[in-house]
Structure formats: structure tokens, C-alpha cells
């Protein structure tokens, strides 16, 4: 409500802050003592994170105490005088209001800078105290005048009901309603704005949480990797491997929303499978894999076989070619999916490879032909190698492309 007393109490006792606020308001309406209680609590309970209460700081300054006492006496006197000249309802409010007023003086004097800034902002929001800018000046004035008149009329009615007359009940009801409407007109916009500010605050808090999350993630992945890179600075291959792995992880996080560390191996499309191949081969063979995927579709049994063969070819290139990078190109077309694995390494003579070297023959060729695909290997010593794998698409595999 202002001093954060309700929030503080709720944090201390584990009761909902709104309940406590509601209790304060009830008591305030009842006799005015709630206001006093609120202010006293504000003074006595230290703010979260600060060791001394506002009251203690305020009391340490003799002038503040004098000012507060003077305020209490002055306000009390005014209210007593008002009561004696006929506004009898003020009598019951004398002490609570005086104490509350004095307490507010103490609060103001004892508040630290941050609290004071909050307070003045709070005050500035009240239409009666703040300085409205030019555009809304007229509407504010009109609102205050109308609302003020309604409140005065209503109060007058309330006072009048103390004398015996006819239709007491009816007049009381009218009076009460008029008072409420008056208050709504005066303070309604302020309350609305408070509510809006609360919403803004909540958004702000969410954004901050997001930022904290981001900082934590960047720390866990990027900064760790940078530390590893510094330690591995003598080993260019390891540096490249670390940097590429981190780059891939970061991209997956930024553009695909996958959180670092939880690399999703549950692949269902061609492009995801290609990303996995790229990552795995780079991680285990210290070779850069530059993958390009054109089009995409759901994986079928045939396409899984195709990509398994493509993976084998990529691993072969990484292992045997001696090249620093391998190009992996996958194109999804309506009728077929092709995979090209190319390196600029030492190459070999395909015809010279004996039957005993089963790696390519078994893993790649057999896998492909079993599913109706084809393999072309182009290589020559010193010319690098390119493996071309083509798999026709069956009806089930035709998705978007």
C-alpha cells in the first residue's frame, strides 16, 4: 500500500499479502485505527535487507521527533475543535489520525533514499498532490471538484442521520453510496494506474528472470568453452573442435530453442539428422564438417538408411582423407534424396581397393542397394573424394520439400 508492510508481514508469517492488506483496510474503515496501526508497523518493522527500522533511524534525530510530536498535537487539536463545533464524527478519529499523521512524518524523515524515492513517486501518483501535466490538468481539476462535492454532501448526510428523522435507513444508504462514488471519482484513476503499474512491474520481473536464465546458460556453455579453449591453445585441432561444437550448440539454442547440453537425438527429419551427423563427426574426428541441406522431409526407413550411409561416408572422409574439412550436401527433391560427401584430401583409386576392405563395400553400398538406392564414388589419388548417394522417395516419405 505504500510502505510494503503487508508484503513484509506476509513474508514473515506466510500469510497472503492481500489478506493482510484487506484486514488493514477493514480496520481503517472501521475506526481509523488501522491507519495508525499500519503506520506504526511501517515504522517498527525493518525493511527486507536492511538492519534498522525506519522508526529507529527517525528517532535518532531529535528534530524529527519534535516535528512529529508537533504534528500529532496540531492535528489532534484541529480534529478536537472540529468535533466540538458539531462535526461529532471526528471525535473517534482524533487519536488514530493524529498518531498516523505523526507516524508518517517519522516515516518520511527516517526513510532512506530509495524508500523516499518510492514514496514521492507514490505521492506523485495521487491526483490531489501530484503535478499533472498540462494535457490532463483540466480533467484532473474537474474530477477533484466533482468528487470533492460528492464526498462533502455524503458526509453531511451521514452527520444528519444522527438526528432522529424519517427514512433514516434510506438516507444512510444514499449517503454511503454518494461517499463511495465520490472516492471512486477522486481516486479511481490512481488505483487504475497502480494496477497497471503492477502489471508492468510483473512483466519487468519476467524479463529479468529471462535475462538471468540467459546469463546462466551463456556462463555454463560459452564461458566454459572459452576457458577450455585457452587451456588447449597449443592444440589447433582441439581449439577448432571446441569452437565448432560450441557454435553449433549456441545456434541450436538461439534459433531452434533447444537448450544447450540437451542435444535432441530424437531426430525425425532429414535436416535434423544432418545436424546430428555434422556434430558427431566433428566431435569425434576433429574435422570441420560443412553441411548444407536443401529442402526437408520426414525420415522413412529408406531415408534413415541413406543417412546412415551418409554418416559412414562422412566418417570415412574425416578419418582417411587427411583434409581439414568435409563438405556434406543433402538435397531433398520430390522424387529422390541425394547426399554428397566431399573432401579435398589425398583420395584413392576406387578400383584398387581390394575386396578385403569391407568398410565402404559393406556399410555403404550394401546398405544403399538393400533399400533401392545407388552409390557413386569418385576419387583419384591427390584429387580428393566424393561419395554420391541417391535414394528414391517412396510415397510415404513425400512430405514438404
Amino acid at each position: 500500500m505504500g510502505g510494503g508492510v503487508a508484503g513484509g508481514l506476509s513474508a514473515r508469517f506466510g500469510i497472503d499479502a492481500n489478506l493482510i492488506r484487506f484486514a488493514f483496510i477493514l480496520v481503517a474503515i472501521g475506526a481509523g485505527t488501522g491507519v495508525a496501526a499500519y503506520v506504526v508497523a511501517w515504522l517498527v518493522i525493518p525493511r527486507e535487507g536492511s538492519s534498522t527500522s525506519i522508526g529507529r533511524r527517525a528517532l535518532a534525530d531529535r528534530r524529527t521527533v519534535g516535528l512529529a510530536l508537533a504534528f500529532i498535537v496540531g492535528l489532534g487539536a484541529i480534529l478536537l475543535v472540529l468535533g466540538s463545533i458539531g462535526l461529532s464524527f471526528t471525535a473517534s478519529l482524533v487519536w488514530p489520525l493524529s498518531i498516523a499523521g505523526g507516524g508518517l512524518v517519522l516515516v518520511w524523515r527516517g526513510a532512506d533514499d530509495e524508500e523516499r524515492a518510492n514514496l514521492s513517486e507514490l505521492m506523485g501518483r495521487a491526483p490531489l498532490i501530484g503535478s499533472p501535466d498540462r494535457r490532463t490538468l483540466r480533467s484532473t481539476v474537474a474530477r477533484v471538484v466533482v468528487g470533492g462535492i460528492l464526498v462533502i454532501v455524503g458526509l453531511g448526510e451521514l452527520v444528519a442521520t444522527r438526528h432522529p428523522s424519517l427514512g433514516v435507513l434510506f438516507r444512510t444508504l444514499v449517503a454511503a453510496n454518494v461517499v463511495i462514488v465520490g472516492f471512486l471519482i477522486v481516486f479511481g484513476p490512481w488505483w487504475l494506474r497502480l494496477a497497471r503499474d503492477l502489471a508492468v512491474e510483473r512483466r519487468e520481473r519476467l524479463r529479468n528472470e529471462e535475462r538471468a536464465n540467459m546469463a546462466a546458460t551463456v556462463h555454463d556453455s560459452v564461458l566454459q568453452t572459452l576457458a577450455l579453449i585457452q587451456r588447449a591453445s597449443g592444440d589447433p585441432g582441439e581449439v577448432t573442435r571446441l569452437a565448432r561444437a560450441q557454435e553449433r550448440e549456441l545456434r541450436a539454442w538461439l534459433f531452434e530453442g533447444r537448450s544447450p547440453g540437451s542435444f535432441n537425438r530424437d531426430v525425425s527429419t532429414v535436416s535434423q539428422a544432418v545436424t546430428v551427423i555434422e556434430g558427431d563427426v566433428e566431435a569425434s574426428h576433429r574435422v570441420a564438417v560443412d553441411s548444407v541441406t536443401v529442402g526437408d522431409c520426414e525420415l522413412t526407413t529408406e531415408l534413415r538408411a541413406l543417412l546412415a550411409a551418409g554418416r559412414e561416408a562422412t566418417v570415412n572422409a574425416a578419418k582417411w582423407s587427411g583434409a581439414a574439412s568435409v563438405s556434406l550436401f543433402v538435397e531433398v527433391e520430390p522424387a529422390q534424396v541425394s547426399v554428397f560427401v566431399r573432401d579435398r584430401g589425398q583420395g584413392f583409386d576406387p578400383d584398387a581397393v581390394g575386396d578385403d576392405r569391407k568398410g565402404i563395400a559393406e556399410s555403404i553400398r550394401a546398405r544403399m542397394t538393400r533399400h533401392g538406392g545407388s552409390v557413386v564414388i569418385r576419387s583419384a589419388p591427390g584429387q580428393g573424394t566424393e561419395v554420391e548417394l541417391v535414394m528414391p522417395r517412396t510415397g510415404a516419405g513425400r512430405g514438404r520439400d
Binding site: D290, V294, F329, E331, E333, R342, D401
Partner: protein, 229 residues
């Protein structure tokens, strides 16, 4: 190796290069990698300063970072392109996002390379751009193939094309792009297709032109959807 350009004079001059990047570390890195092969006539680390300095120094090629505050590389390319259409741009980025790549090419860049490119490759790319050719990385070639898919109708409703000349790739262009995407250098592409490097370059330039001028609106849509994959 010096990268030169044909000036029509007896002795060809070194290519004059201007660098725009808001990462100082990267600026000095690129400077060192380009070395003496080109003449670096200046650099800038923000959009406004870059536009002004480029107008003063009139370089042949501007190497521009895609991601910068105040509009990034696109803002520089568009502003300079209006006043000095003869200045050529090569975009450099750490990002491979289709949206960025297509965006910067459509703004007028003659090529796009990622920042992981080696010094020698970068120097070659600068020379190529200085000669008025286009520089396509494998990934850019892949993007173009994807965006100009052979059968656009398959992906939800055929869109009437206003200019078939610009909105479709020829089979030959498709072949060239495919080879580039497979990791072939221009020279290797030429050997594979039995055409000269010059012909390869003219095919790539034609594709670049289509990429820049095509009104085909799938291009933009495709690029922004690509992010969501």
C-alpha cells in the same frame, strides 16, 4: 598474391577495400588476414560513420558485417548503393540464418561469406567481387536452391509468377549451384561441367541478379519460415 583489378591502365592497381564491423577484434583480424594483397583504405565500426567514410574514400569493395546496431550491413549497403552504385559489397557474418543472408543479398551485396572463412579464401572472394562477380558460399547456394525450389506449387498453392525470367533458375544455373553447395570451387565446377570459370561466374552472377530482383514473394516468406525449422 596480389589481388588486382583491371583499371584499363598499364599497371593494374591493388583493390581498395573498406571494412565495416562493430567488433574491433574482428576488424584487426581481417586487416591482418588480407595483409598486403589488397589496400585497406579505412574502417568504421558503426553504420553512420561507415556511410560517410565510404563516400569520402570511394573504395572498390566494402567488407561489411551483417549484424550491427542501427540497421546493420543492410543499412550501409542501401545508403551507399543509392549514391555510389559502383561500389561493391561483400557481406561477412557469423550468422547462417537464411533471413540475414537473403536480406543482405537483396539489399545489394554481391556475395556472402561466413566469418570462419580462411584468409586466402577471403582474399579471393574480395578479388572476385571487385571484378563484378558474385561470391556464393556453399550455404548461400543451398539457400538459393531451397528458395527457388523446382516445384513451388508443392509447398502449398502455386503462386503466379510475374516474371518467369527472374523467378526461376535455368537447369544450368541449378547445376552450378548444386556443385557449389557440394563444396566445389568455381574452377572445379567449370571442370565438372566442361565450361570455363568465366562461364561459371556469369551463371552465378545471373543467379545473384535473380535473387536481388525477383519479385517472387516466396523468397521472403521462405527466408522467414526457414528460421522456424
Amino acid at each position: 598474391m596480389d589481388v588486382t583489378r583491371n583499371t584499363g591502365e598499364d599497371r593494374p592497381a591493388k583493390v581498395r577495400v573498406f571494412l565495416v564491423d562493430d567488433h574491433h577484434l574482428f576488424l584487426s583480424g581481417v586487416r591482418a588476414e588480407l595483409g598486403d594483397a589488397v589496400e585497406v583504405v579505412g574502417d568504421a565500426d558503426e553504420v553512420a560513420a561507415a556511410i560517410e567514410l565510404i563516400g569520402e574514400r570511394l573504395p572498390d569493395v566494402v567488407l561489411v558485417d551483417v549484424h550491427m546496431p542501427d540497421g546493420g550491413g543492410r543499412a550501409v549497403i542501401e545508403a551507399v548503393g543509392r549514391t555510389h552504385p559502383e561500389i561493391r559489397f561483400l557481406a561477412l557474418s557469423v550468422s547462417d540464418a537464411a533471413e540475414d543472408v537473403i536480406g543482405v543479398i537483396r539489399a545489394g551485396a554481391r556475395g556472402y561469406v561466413t566469418k570462419t572463412i580462411s584468409g586466402a579464401e577471403l582474399t579471393a572472394a574480395v578479388g572476385r567481387v571487385a571484378d563484378g562477380d558474385a561470391v556464393f558460399s556453399p550455404r548461400l547456394a543451398g539457400f538459393v536452391l531451397d528458395a527457388f525450389a523446382a516445384d513451388p506449387g508443392a509447398a502449398g498453392g502455386a503462386v503466379p509468377s510475374f516474371d518467369p525470367e527472374l523467378d526461376q533458375l535455368t537447369p544450368r544455373e541449378r547445376e552450378v549451384l548444386r556443385l557449389i553447395a557440394r563444396g566445389y570451387a568455381y574452377k572445379e565446377v567449370g571442370r565438372e561441367l566442361s565450361i570455363s570459370v568465366k562461364t561459371v561466374e556469369s551463371h552465378v552472377s545471373a543467379v545473384l541478379r535473380k535473387l536481388q530482383l525477383s519479385s517472387r514473394h516466396q523468397l521472403t516468406r521462405w527466408a522467414s519460415e526457414r528460421r522456424l525449422l
